[in-house]
């Protein structure tokens, strides 16, 4: 029989076949495989992250449970009172020392000016001073040798005393000569008008400047005492301080009494704190033992070799579990509630009385602000003292810590304290706030710059400018973030602080700034990093606005600027928003710069200054992960807390990217 005649459309058989696949399907599966690999890897990352991170909550819950069982919670109620008391006392102390120092402000300013000026003159006259010093030391050496040889009875033959004495005379003359030159040189240098521009907090009158100058000129390098004028200044300061101390004797007594009132509370806390810590240590040790025993028992279960199993069982048997007698241990706290009540009642009486005695207002602004702060803190302290006792009475060490609040404790916690000998707190707020503050600053700076530049390059610039600006902006992306961090520490931080100290900028909230490394500094650097991203994407979005829109607008007699503002930018708006969101994603995920430049203070920034909060140091979610991951034990609660932070960060980035894609998609439909 003949084979059936193949029709012309029969599928040709590929000569190369592996596993029944021809070349085309192999390529198809290869590409498909690549695509699925990406999905698999992403899911693996998500699962791993979630697994590690979510285990944080049970551990955290156990930790808080232990915190309560061991009585640490009880002690922290007391500590809160003590802390509040010390805070109030601190304001009072600052008010007092503000008054004392203010009494001799002028003289202290003069001293500062004197020191600054002599330092400058030393730099100016270093050569002359060096010559003087050399001669002076030679002279001293020679005199010493002469004394030496004179004391030795017969004297060394080789040493010619007469010649040496002549030399001494010559050296003395030279010394005097050099002293004169040095003084002349100093006098000359002082004639420079630049010498009058000092950093001193006060401005000097002509006489004051002359007096100081005189003191500097006459103080030679070999002088043993300060110039008489300076000595007098120091004496005046001492006198004035003493006078002020006498004047503010009352305030001082009140301050001392205020501090003393808190002492019984501290004395009460001391032993309780030690007790709670010991209980906690015992509990932790017992827990470790229990885990060890469990591990051994599990090992015995899985061991195939009966000998090994017996070995494991014997080891497990040998571990004696200690049941921590919490009821007994916590009795001390219940016993002390009455003592606490007595202490705080006395304290409240004392403080109330003292509070009414303290002067209403101070002489200086420092004293005034601190006194008013003291007055704000005092009622808070009194309420706290009044309420804590009820809190203590209601407290039971064996009430189980509810699970949901332990989860919330992470998201609303204001403290991130790790590796502490007391208790580790994992509060997410300070880190989250830091990240958000920095990102906000960065965005506020990035958006106008990058969108503005994109509009200029895309709509206004000629091709020559485009060819210059686009590569330059995109080149910024090539700067490694660690290098930018260096720049932030070395240049930007210092410059910002100097600028913030300018007098005419004092109205800016937060100025002058205390810290070089802070939110503002990090935000500016991150803005710099995000500008290329946002610029490039926004420029693309503008480019995607059809040219026919622009032409239509111009043909209707609209100007270039009208066309840009009314047609091009609205047309590209969703693309621009997506660009900004992606820039935000880059900002919030950035690590190196914030680790170096944000200041690294893990506490909730103080919002009482309003916008001034941007001059405070913070820590961020990314920064803390980078900083602490290296030093944690795998599987510990701290390790898991860092993973949880990572997961939160991941969710934020995911959300941002998702919204950006959504917006772009919507935009494409509109066209």
């Amino acid at each position: 029989m003949n084979a059936p005649e193949p029709n012309p459309f029969t599928k040709k058989r590929d000569r190369i076949q592996i596993l029944g696949l021809n070349r085309e399907s192999m390529l198809k599966y290869f590409f498909g495989g690549n695509a699925s690999l990406a999905i698999v890897v992403l899911s693996l990352i998500c699962i791993f992250l979630a697994k590690e991170a979510l285990q944080f909550f049970p551990s955290h819950h156990r930790g808080l449970q232990l915190y309560r069982l061991s009585g640490q919670e009880f002690v922290d109620y007391l500590e809160d009172e003590s802390r509040q008391h010390k805070k109030a006392a601190g304001y009072l102390a600052r008010a007092y020392y503000g008054e004392i120092n203010a009494s001799s402000k002028r003289e202290q300013g003069l001293l500062v000016a004197y020191e600054e000026l002599s330092e400058r003159l030393e730099r100016e006259t270093s050569k002359e001073a060096l010559l003087f010093n050399t001669t002076f030391e030679n002279l001293l050496d020679l005199q010493f040798e002469i004394e030496d040889s004179e004391s030795e009875e017969d004297g060394a033959e080789s040493f010619d005393i007469e010649a040496a004495k002549a030399e001494v005379t010559a050296l003395t003359t030279r010394l005097e000569e050099r002293r004169r030159t040095l003084r002349e040189r100093k006098t000359d240098a002082l004639k420079d008008p630049g010498m009058r521009e000092l950093d001193s907090p006060i401005s000097l009158s002509e006489t004051e400047f002359q007096n100081i100058a005189e003191a500097i000129i006459t103080t030679d390098p070999d002088a043993e005492d300060d110039a008489p004028h300076i000595q007098e200044l120091n004496r005046t300061i001492d006198d004035k301080k003493a006078a002020a101390e006498a004047e503010y004797q009352d305030l001082f007594t009140q301050l001392e009494a205020f501090r003393a009132a808190g002492r019984p509370l501290d004395e009460l806390i001391g032993p309780l704190r030690d007790h709670a810590r010991t209980t906690k240590e015992r509990a932790v040790a017992a827990e470790t033992l229990r885990k060890g025993k469990e591990a051994l028992l599990a090992g015995a279960e899985n061991a195939r070799d009966p000998e090994r199993r017996a070995e494991f069982l014997a080891d497990a048997e040998a571990i004696e579990l200690e049941e921590v007698p919490y009821d007994e241990l916590n009795q001390i706290f219940y016993d002390n509630i009455d003592a606490h009540h007595a202490v705080t009642s006395q304290m409240m009486r004392d403080l109330e009385q003292l509070g009414s005695q303290v002067v209403a207002s101070g002489q200086t602004t420092i004293a005034q602000t601190n006194l008013s702060r003291f007055r704000e803190e005092l009622p808070e302290l009194l309420t706290m003292l009044g309420e804590t006792n009820d809190k203590l009475k209601a407290w039971r060490h064996d009430t189980p810590f509810p699970f949901l609040p332990s989860v919330l404790a992470f998201f609303t916690g204001k403290d991130w304290v790790t590796n502490s000998s007391w208790h580790d707190f994992y509060g997410f707020l300070p880190l989250f706030t830091g990240s958000i503050l920095i990102s906000l600053i960065a965005l506020i700076v990035t958006v106008p710059f990058s969108v503005g530049a994109a509009i200029y390059v895309n709509q206004i610039a000629g091709w020559r400018e485009q060819n210059l600006i686009k590569p330059v902006v995109e080149f910024i992306q090539a700067i490694p973030s660690i290098v930018l961090g260096f720049f932030g520490i070395a240049v930007l931080g210092t410059t910002l602080r100097e600028v913030s100290q300018l007098e005419w900028l004092a109205w800016v909230p937060g100025f002058p700034m205390q810290e070089r490394l802070n939110v503002l500094n990090a935000g500016l650097l991150l803005a710099f990093m995000a500008i290329p991203t946002v610029f490039t994407l926004a420029e693309d979005a503008l480019n995607n606005v059809p040219r026919s829109f622009t032409e239509g607008s111009l043909a209707l007699g609209a100007t270039k600027v009208q066309t840009i503002l009314r047609i091009v930018v609205p047309g590209a708006l969703s693309g621009i928003i997506a660009a900004i969101l992606l820039g935000f994603g880059r900002i919030i995920g950035e690590t190196m710069v914030v680790l170096l430049v944000a200041g690294g203070s893990i506490s909730l920034p103080d919002f009482s200054e309003g916008i001034g909060v941007i001059t405070q140091p913070v820590h961020t979610m990314t920064g803390i992960i980078a900083q602490e991951t290296g030093e944690v034990d795998q599987g510990s609660i701290h390790y898991r807390a860092l993973f949880l932070l990572g997961m939160v960060l991941f969710s934020i980035s995911l959300l941002i990217n998702y919204s950006a894609q959504k917006i772009v998609f919507k935009y494409q439909l509109a066209r």
Binding site: G552, S553, A555, L556, T559
Partner: protein, 282 residues
């Protein structure tokens, strides 16, 4: 008409307006040319696109530019409202174009003001991604008119003139992108006439439309010519013969022949014209 133009107060070139008054056509006889093109050469960078074009376009008539692709008819059209300014390296190297007696390439002429008098409708309809109302009002608003009442009135009048009012009066606040292709093109015409130009340039306005939509636009063009001077570029010879009063044929950047449509189509002077009209080349 110019004097009623809400934008005329913004004119930076009073000469244009004055000339408009002086050179306005007399009531009798052949109207004076509103556009006067004299010996124009045009370059894109180094390549020459137009050479020595001389052409006069009369007022309130429809003039059609025809010719094969790349013959320079669109280029010449875009010279008339200086849209070619947007292309880097494009310039008129010789000759003068006068509109209402003013040399529009004179340095004192502001192209923005010029375009308010010389409107344009493009090959592909290009309504802005805004509402229908905002599209029509756009030219007025950029010209500085903000009075709501005045805007309403002009938008309605323009849509009526563009024969679009009945279809859109209930959906003025809808996005213009939702209109059909023919409606979009009529919207673009309404948008152009809203600023009350003297001249409307149309660059192959029907090339992307179906025959029915094309017919409506052609009807609109013949209605509009009582108020506006229309210059239309077209590939479609039948269209040129249907809508235009005068026709100019271009080939390889040169003006081959121009005259009344009747004469060009029925009794052309030049052999090339006859060949092109009868479809022997092009």
């Amino acid at each position: 008409m110019l004097l009623e133009n809400p934008n005329s107060s913004l004119m930076e070139t009073p000469s244009l307006e004055e000339d408009a008054v002086h050179t306005s056509p007399s009531d009798s006889g052949e109207s004076a040319p509103i556009i006067d093109i004299e010996g124009v050469d045009f370059h894109y960078g180094k390549s020459k696109a137009l050479s020595d074009i001389t052409l006069a376009i009369p007022e309130k008539q429809v003039t059609a530019f025809i010719g094969p692709s790349g013959c320079g008819k669109s280029t010449l059209l875009r010279c008339l409202n200086r849209m070619n300014d947007l292309i880097e390296g494009a310039q008129i190297s010789k000759g003068v174009i006068r509109i209402l007696g003013t040399d529009i390439y004179d340095p004192t002429v502001d192209p923005i003001e010029l375009r308010k008098h010389v409107g344009m409708v493009f090959q592909k309809s290009n309504p802005f991604p805004k509402t229908i109302y905002d599209n029509v009002a756009y030219g007025l608003r950029v010209g500085g008119l903000t009075d709501k009442h005045g805007l309403d009135e002009i938008v309605e009048r323009s849509l009526r003139s563009a024969a679009l009012w009945d279809e859109t009066k209930d959906r003025l606040k809808d996005n213009a992108m939702g209109l059909s292709g023919g409606q979009q093109q009529r919207l673009c015409i309404a948008r152009a006439i809203a600023v009350q130009p003297k001249i409307i340039l149309m660059d192959e306005p029907c090339s992307a439309l179906d025959p029915i939509a094309t017919m409506r636009i052609e009807k609109l063009i013949s209605e509009l010519k009582s108020d506006y001077t229309i210059v239309i570029v077209t590939h479609n010879m039948q269209q040129a013969s249907r809508v235009s009063d005068r026709t100019a044929l271009f080939y390889l950047g040169e003006l081959v022949e121009e005259g009344t449509t009747e004469q060009i189509f029925q009794n052309p002077d030049k052999k090339e014209t006859e060949d092109y009209i009868s479809g022997r080349f092009g």
